[in-house]
């Protein structure tokens, strides 16, 4: 047992750090550090920079643009990018549909889609949740029926994150209504420009436009856009959600948040002393740091255990990462609320690209994003399988209850 990083791993961390420092535009870094959303252009340009270096999909198989890095290196890479306030990769492509395509897709699908995902030429979004199918995802009602050389898709998807920019959507649709609900679902790729696709924005609590409703009205997709086998889509969805959970601890993001909390809390904003000198605040900060340190170690344990596990089979301990990771993200968003204090109040609407309007800020320059981020961060214990769903997974898969 040796929990230190090896010299090679430390050198690798330096290499990543130096690359990000030299290549990530300051304007993007500052925007993300300040808690604003990167715009589409920011994400595209950063992904292409990474792709040029061969780093945009490091976890993929080498033949499709991956790096062949060990799980520990992948962790270091993600941690460094998150801590440096780089835009996160568009997970719907790189961590969701990409792995589904290279694991279960046809050769044509791999050749056609994977390089375009790696370069963010195609913007993907996720067509899973429906108004009546949230935690009970398998209860989805959107249908796909064969008609000549096409699927004809009807139904409604919701919570479609960043669907307003999307070129493609991967859809779970019911292709057999006569069997058990998990056994009649297929995984189909749909061009968002197809006639009959309508995207309608949903504004969230923070005032932002992240999620959408997507309507399918007799939308046609060629039969060859089915991934894997017909009616096996539920297996691919489970595979995909398992991938989602390992990344969901977001330790690097929480580390960057804690750094920002300490920085802002050191400013003299109200009263006689900076917030950081308040002993109660310091205790709460330290308590979150302990949780995060433990989570970081737990994540390392899960990653180190990967090589002893059947390939592609998620570790149920990743549910622990999801629960703790989301709780910590929420706790850091609350600490920021404590730091900003009364000047959390003014509301400043944000433009879609995350840049601010030209009016001067009300109150401290950094204050406007903090309450929206707190409101927005409530989502992290809901998406990706709510924390209650995760507890159910632990009870069944780990404890056998």
């Amino acid at each position: 047992m040796d929990l230190r990083f090896t010299d090679d791993e430390l050198a690798f961390r330096e290499e990543v750090r130096a690359f990000v420092k030299a290549n990530l535009p300051a304007s993007i870094r500052q925007k993300i550090y300040a808690g604003r959303h990167p715009g589409k252009e920011d994400m595209v340009s950063w992904t292409r920079l990474l792709n040029k270096k061969g780093w945009s999909v490091p976890h993929w198989p080498v033949e499709w643009g991956g790096t062949g890095w060990s799980p520990v290196r992948l962790l270091i890479f993600n941690d460094e990018l998150q801590q440096a306030s780089a835009p996160e990769p568009l997970a719907f492509g790189t961590s969701m549909v990409g792995p589904v395509i290279y694991t279960f897709g046809s050769d044509e699908q791999k050749k056609r889609f994977l390089p375009r995902i790696a370069n963010l030429d195609d913007w993907w979004c996720q067509g899973f949740s429906e108004p009546g199918a949230g935690s009970d995802l398998a209860g989805l009602k959107t249908t796909a029926k064969r008609d000549g050389v096409d699927w004809v898709i009807n139904g409604q998807k919701t919570w479609t994150t960043l669907g307003q920019y999307a070129d493609w959507i991967f859809v779970l649709a019911r292709t057999d209504a006569s069997v058990k609900k998990q056994e009649g679902i297929s995984f189909i790729l749909v061009d968002m420009k197809s006639p009959g696709v309508t995207v309608r924005p949903i504004q969230t609590l923070d005032g932002g436009h992240e999620v959408n409703e997507v309507f399918f009205d007799n939308v046609r997709a060629p039969l060859e856009n089915l991934v894997g086998q017909e009616n096996k889509g539920w297996n691919y969805a489970k595979f995909l959600l398992g991938n989602e959970r390992t990344g969901i601890a977001r330790v690097g993001i929480s580390k960057a948040r804690l750094k920002r909390i300490r920085e802002l809390a050191s400013l003299q904003v109200y009263g006689a002393k900076p917030k950081i000198e308040d002993p109660l605040f310091r205790l709460r900060l330290a308590a979150v740091e302990v949780e995060l340190k433990a989570l970081e170690m737990t994540q390392l344990r899960v990653i180190a255990g990967e090589r002893n596990r059947e390939k592609g089979k998620p570790d149920p301990v990743s549910s622990v990462l999801k629960i703790k990771g989301s709780e910590i993200q929420q706790a850091t968003s609350e600490l920021l609320m404590d730091v900003v204090g009364p000047y959390a109040l003014p509301y400043e609407s944000e433009r879609e690209d995350g840049d601010r309007w030209n009016e001067p800020p009300v109150g401290p320059e950094w204050a406007a994003t903090i309450a929206p981020a707190y409101f927005n961060t409530r989502k992290v214990s809901i998406y990706g399988g709510s924390n209650e769903i995760q507890r159910g997974i632990i009870a069944k898969a780990i404890l056998g209850l």
Binding site: A286, E289, K324, Q390, A395
Partner: protein, 381 residues
């Protein structure tokens, strides 16, 4: 980075687990507890035979050259079985003082006896008023020629009633709460002027209040600098925190295992109670608490060997906070999920809960360590 055990470590783990499975059922433990010393001499000899008592010491001193990982493996197994023998007192605390601060002569004289299971030791440091402050030492060591004369009172000395030797902290200079001026002395437990009052503890172990009246210590029995032992004490206590973290993780995992078994077998309303979601989610939260604790046990184990005292203390304090919080949560929930049977003295579960409660208090509770962490520049960076 790897979390794997070496072949020797795996063998050690297997042999401790096997020995305890054979010899340390909960009914056995009850019998050991009733003996006058409160633990089993027979098992102590077995530990010596398997090599547990010498593993933490250097081969040159008569040990087997193990490190913190070996201690972790042993204590985790001990925690599951609720072992009563004075391992923490003898090998981790007193043994740690000798290992880190003893002279070559002192180690040569004592370590082989510890490894062979011939003597037990206790660490007489805490006093009535000191709370969790390791520097708060009122006992005195007055110089008398080259020798020292000890006076004062030591409290909560783990296994101090049965120990053959004591390692006593006493002040040869400075005021009661000064960091400087503290020395450590090796004292025969039966020496003139040593009075011991032994008693059982809440968690089924034994401790003693010890009064020192003009106890004479020859110069060769002073350990390290007689006025500068605090750093050594802090270091050894850090190691003890890492060791008890492992003991706590063992006890927590046993409590969780017992609870899950109970949820699967206990029937109410015609079904196993583990089919109820409210109970499933509680058990799942126990898994989360245990995994977080296990992670911090590993961090504490690794960092207990760190030479940079600031870095070491930070990690140890963080681990102590996590262990304390997880131990309280898992202890309380496991009783709740068992219902009435969890409240009885005859059933093992409540004893795990009691040991976990006392591990939180030992060497600074979660709040104490959190407060200490909060004064620094942060854990993450």
């Amino acid at each position: 980075m790897n979390f794997d055990l070496s072949e020797e470590q795996q063998l050690l783990k297997d042999s401790v687990t096997r020995l305890l499975a054979d010899r340390y059922g909960f009914e056995d433990r009850k019998a050991f507890q009733k003996s006058p010393e409160g633990w089993s001499r027979d098992l102590w000899r077995q530990y010596a035979e398997v090599g547990l008592l010498g593993v933490a010491f250097a081969e040159a001193d008569g040990g087997y050259g193990g490190g913190p990982v070996e201690t972790m493996l042993i204590l985790e197994a001990f925690g599951k079985a609720l072992v009563l023998e004075p391992y923490l007192a003898t090998v981790v605390l007193a043994g740690g003082v000798l290992r880190r601060g003893g002279s070559e002569e002192q180690r040569a004289a004592i370590v082989p006896q510890i490894a062979a299971g011939e003597i037990t030791l206790a660490f007489a440091h805490t006093e009535r008023q000191s709370g969790f402050d390791l520097f708060d030492v009122g006992a005195t060591a007055r110089k008398d020629g080259a020798a020292f004369v000890l006076n004062g009172e030591k409290g909560l000395v783990l296994n101090g009633d049965s120990a053959d030797r004591l390692i006593v902290s006493a002040r040869s200079a400075g005021a009661r709460r000064d960091r400087g001026g503290i020395g450590l002395f090796l004292v025969d437990a039966k020496a003139e002027g040593v009075a011991r009052r032994g008693y059982p503890t809440q968690d089924g172990m034994r401790a003693a209040e010890i009064t020192l009246t003009d106890v004479r210590v020859e110069p060769q029995n002073a350990i390290g600098e007689p006025e500068g032992a605090l750093a050594l004490i802090e270091r050894v206590v850090d190691e003890a925190i890492a060791a008890t973290s492992a003991e706590a993780v063992g006890a927590m995992s046993e409590a969780l295992e017992m609870t899950v078994d109970y949820l699967k077998t206990r029937k109410q309303f015609g079904v196993p109670i583990g089919s109820f979601q409210a109970l499933q989610h509680r058990a799942s939260d126990m898994v989360v608490a245990l995994e977080q604790a296990r992670s911090m046990m590993m961090l504490a184990t690794m960092m207990s060997a760190e030479e940079n005292a600031g870095e070491r203390r930070k990690a140890i304090s963080a681990a102590k906070v996590q262990i304390g919080r997880s131990a309280r949560f898992i202890g309380q929930q496991s009783i709740q999920l068992h219902g009435g049977i969890g409240m009885t003295m005859e059933y093992k579960l409540g004893h795990l809960f009691k040991r976990l409660t006392m591990i939180d208090i030992a060497f600074g509770d979660a709040d104490y360590h959190l407060e200490r962490l909060s004064q620094g520049e942060g854990l993450i960076g």
